[in-house]
Amino acid sequence: MTSQTQPSEKSMKRMRNYVEKYRQKSGTSAHPNREVTDAVVLGLAQNVDALGRPLCPCNYYPDKQAEVDASRRWFCACDEMKQYKYCHCLLFVTPEGKPITEYLPEDHEGRQIYGRVKDPTPDKGREARHRAESTERTV
C-alpha cells in the first residue's frame, strides 16, 4: 500500500532541514509531541518522492497528482501558513503546541476548533500577509 511506503533518506533529510529553517523564519515551534512532527515530515517526504512536491499530508485529495498540477496552495509551507501563520498539520505551532489562529478569518474552521491563539512572535513569518489582507478587503 502506497500510504505505508517509507520515503527516501534524501527526501527525509530535505524535509527535516526545510521544517527547521522555516520554523526559525516564521518564529514557530515544534509540537511537544514528537510523534506529531515525525508523522508529518514522513508524509511530506513521501509526497516529495511520489509527486515531486511537499504536498501537505493532512488533507484528503481525491487525486493527489491533479492537486499538485493545479495549484501550489498545499505545498508546505502552504498558503494558510504564509498568509495567516496557521498550520492545521501542527508542524509550525506555539511552544505549547497550539496552531496560531489570531490572523484567521473568524469563520475559519481553525478559529472554531482552537479559539483565538495569539502569535508569540508577530514580527516573524506571514510573508504572504498582503494576500490575506487583500482578500479581507474584498469580502
Binding site: S3, E109, I113
Partner: protein, 108 residues
C-alpha cells in the same frame, strides 16, 4: 477492552450507514500528525461507549471512496452518523469533552 473498529470502503454501507447504533468515524491517514494526536482519544471513546456507540477509523489513503462521498478535506475529521446520516462533523484536534458532548447527543 474495546478497540476502534476498522472501517473500509467495502464495509462502510453495512457497518456505518446501516448500523443500528450511532457510529463515530475517524477519517485519518498514517502520516497526518494531528491524526496521531487524536488517536488515543478515539481509543478511549471506543472503550467508554462500548455497546452504545460504534467507534471506528477509516484510513483515507486506503479507502478513497468514503472521504470523497462525505466531502472530507482537512484531516483528522470525525463524523458522527445516526440512522445513516451525518449528524455532526468535528475537524482537527478537539478536546475529548467535545467528542463526548456530541456522542451523548447522538446516543440519547
Amino acid at each position: 477492552m474495546s478497540k476502534p473498529q476498522e472501517f473500509t470502503d467495502a464495509n462502510f454501507q453495512n457497518e456505518v450507514l446501516e448500523s443500528d447504533l450511532p457510529v463515530l468515524v475517524d477519517f485519518w491517514a498514517a502520516w497526518c500528525g494531528p491524526c496521531r494526536a487524536v488517536g488515543p482519544t478515539i481509543d478511549e471513546l471506543a472503550e467508554q461507549y462500548e455497546g452504545t456507540v460504534k467507534v471506528g477509523k477509516l484510513n483515507i489513503d486506503e479507502n478513497p471512496q468514503s472521504p470523497s462521498r462525505f466531502g472530507i478535506s482537512s484531516i483528522p475529521a470525525v463524523l458522527l452518523f445516526k440512522d445513516g446520516k451525518v449528524v455532526e462533523t468535528l475537524v482537527g484536534v478537539q478536546p475529548k469533552e467535545r467528542y463526548e458532548v456530541a456522542l451523548h447527543q447522538v446516543a440519547a
